[in-house]
C-alpha cells in the first residue's frame, strides 16, 4: 500500500496495547478450544502462553515488534518437527480473522492483518 507510511497501523487503529489484552483472551480461547492445534499451545504456564499470543497479535497488526523472518523460522522450527503444516497455519489464521471480527475491526483492516499473517507463512513453516 502506497500510504502505509502515513496511515496508522491496525494495531493503533484498534486501540493499541490496552485493546491487545482483550484480543489475546478471545484469540487464546479459540486456539485452546480447537483440537487441531490446541496441543501446540498447551503450557503449564498460561500467562507465559498468553504473552506469546500477544506477541503474535502485536506483530500481525503491525504494532511495535522486533521479530525478524529469521526469528520466525527459529521460533517455529521445533513445531515444524512436530508436524506443523499448512492446515494448522490456516486454522490459526481463521481464528485470527474471527477474533478481529468479534472485536468489530472493520473489514478492510482485517484484510490487512490477514495479508501480514499470510506473508509469514514460509518462515513459520520453515520452507
Amino acid at each position: 500500500m502506497s500510504t502505509a507510511g502515513v496511515a496508522k497501523s491496525v494495531y493503533e487503529q484498534i486501540g493499541g496495547e490496552p485493546a491487545m489484552a482483550a484480543a489475546v483472551e478471545v484469540f487464546y480461547r479459540k486456539v485452546l478450544a480447537d483440537d487441531r492445534i490446541s496441543h501446540f499451545f498447551e503450557d503449564v504456564d498460561m500467562e507465559r502462553q498468553a504473552a506469546k499470543q500477544k506477541a503474535f497479535l502485536t506483530m500481525v497488526t503491525g504494532g511495535p515488534s522486533s521479530y525478524s523472518g529469521r526469528d520466525m523460522r527459529a521460533g517455529h522450527a521445533h513445531l515444524v518437527k512436530l508436524g506443523l503444516n499448512d492446515m494448522h497455519f490456516d486454522a490459526v489464521v481463521g481464528h485470527l480473522k474471527e477474533t478481529l471480527e468479534e472485536l468489530n475491526v472493520p473489514a478492510p483492516l482485517v484484510q490487512r492483518v490477514l495479508t501480514i499473517a499470510e506473508g509469514a507463512r514460509a518462515d513459520v513453516l520453515n520452507r
Binding site: E25, Y28, R29, L32, E42, V44, M46, E47, A50
Partner: protein, 333 residues
C-alpha cells in the same frame, strides 16, 4: 563458563546449569523443594553481578529491588560472574504451638512467630527446618488470628510431612520465609461472584480466603468446592457448613470420587463445578492443590469465559529430587 561465588569461594557452573544445581552438586547446602520456580524455597540474594530476569518471575517487587532471585530458575549466561548469599535475613523464627489431625492424613500445624508476621489470607510460606529442609505450605489462618495455621497432607515417607506428623515436638523451633503468592481476596467488588475450588489440603488457602472475603463484607455469591477421594478426606466439613448457615451467600459444595451421600456430591470436581457454575463470565476464581487438577480446571474455566486476570492458582508442586542424587541422599533431605 559462568561462575558463582558463595561464602568467599567460587563455584563453576556447567553450561545451562542452574545456580541451585551447581551449588548442590558441589556440596553447598541450599534449601529447595520444587525446582520449578513455584515454591520459593530456594530464594537467594545476588550481592554482585546481574541475574537473568527469568529468575525473578513471581517475586515481590521489594524482593526484586533487593536482588533476590530463585536459584532453581537462575541459569546465568556464559561468562557471568555472580556473587550470591542465602536468604537467611528474610527468615522469621517461629515455634510449633499445636499439632492435631483434621482427617486421617491431614495434620493441622499451628505456628507462632516471635515478631508480627505480615501476610494476606491464602498466601503461602516456606517452612524451613533447623537443618535447612524446606517445603511450602499455604496459610489457612487469618492475619488477625494469633497463630498461623497450615494444613499438611501426611505423605508416607515424606521428609517434612512425616517429620511433622511423627517426630516434631511442640515448641519446636522452625523458620518461616515469605509470604508469597497472589492467591488472596481483593476487596473492591463486593458483589462479584467468587469461585473457590481445591482438592485435599488445597482447602487450606481457600479456608483463609473465604473467611477473609466474608469478613470484608463480600455480598455476591461465593462457591466453595472441596474435593477428596472419599468422605474421610473432606475435613473441616462441620465448620464450613456452619459458616454457610451463617452466610447465605456462601455455597459450600463438598464432593468425592467415591462414597457420595445426600450431602456429598459424587463425581469429578470439574463436572460438579460445570453443573453448578456453567457460565462464570466476570467471576473471580481461586484454584489450589493438586497440580494436574489446578492446570485442567484453569483451562476449563478460562474456556468457559473467566478472564486470566481473575484466575488465581497455587499448584502444590511436590519436591523434585536432585538429578543424579542417590535415593538415600534424596530421602535424607
Amino acid at each position: 563458563m559462568a561462575k558463582v561465588k558463595h561464602e568467599s569461594r567460587w563455584y563453576p557452573l556447567e553450561s545451562g546449569e542452574s545456580v541451585l544445581d551447581g551449588l548442590l552438586r558441589q556440596g553447598v547446602s541450599v534449601p529447595h523443594s520444587c525446582r520449578a520456580g513455584a515454591c520459593q524455597s530456594c530464594l537467594m540474594k545476588a550481592v554482585g553481578g546481574a541475574v537473568p530476569q527469568a529468575a525473578q518471575v513471581g517475586l515481590k517487587e521489594t524482593l526484586v529491588a533487593q536482588g533476590y532471585f530463585l536459584a532453581c530458575t537462575c541459569r546465568p549466561p556464559e561468562g557471568t560472574e555472580l556473587e550470591v548469599a542465602g536468604a537467611e535475613a528474610l527468615r522469621v523464627p517461629a515455634r510449633i504451638s499445636s499439632l492435631s489431625f483434621l482427617a486421617p492424613d491431614v495434620l493441622r500445624v499451628r505456628l507462632v512467630t516471635d515478631a508480627p508476621f505480615d501476610y494476606r489470607a491464602g498466601q503461602y510460606v516456606s517452612l524451613v527446618r533447623e537443618d535447612g529442609l524446606a517445603r511450602s505450605y499455604s496459610l489457612a489462618s487469618l492475619p488477625r488470628e494469633d497463630a498461623l495455621e497450615l494444613h499438611v497432607r501426611v505423605i508416607p515417607g515424606g521428609a517434612m510431612s512425616g517429620w511433622l506428623a511423627a517426630e516434631a515436638p511442640l515448641d519446636q523451633r522452625v523458620f518461616l520465609q515469605g509470604p508469597a503468592g497472589s492467591c488472596f481476596y481483593v476487596a473492591g467488588r463486593p458483589d462479584q461472584p467468587l469461585l473457590l475450588a481445591g482438592t485435599g489440603t488445597g482447602l487450606a488457602p481457600l479456608y483463609g480466603i473465604v473467611r477473609d472475603a466474608l469478613e470484608a463484607g463480600h455480598t455476591g455469591p461465593i462457591w466453595l468446592f472441596h474435593g477428596a477421594r472419599t468422605p474421610a478426606g473432606l475435613y473441616l466439613r462441620d465448620e464450613l457448613r456452619q459458616l454457610a448457615d451463617r452466610h447465605p451467600q456462601l455455597r459450600y459444595r463438598p464432593g468425592v470420587l467415591a462414597g457420595g451421600t445426600r450431602d456429598i456430591a459424587e463425581g469429578p470436581l470439574d463436572a460438579l463445578i460445570r453443573a453448578e457454575c456453567p457460565k462464570p463470565v466476570g467471576w473471580r476464581a481461586w484454584l489450589c492443590g493438586d497440580p494436574q487438577l489446578v492446570l485442567s480446571l484453569r483451562k476449563k474455566l478460562f474456556l468457559a469465559g473467566l478472564s486470566l486476570k481473575d484466575l488465581h492458582a497455587d499448584s502444590f508442586l511436590p519436591s523434585t529430587p536432585q538429578v543424579g542424587a542417590s535415593p538415600a541422599a534424596a530421602g535424607a533431605r
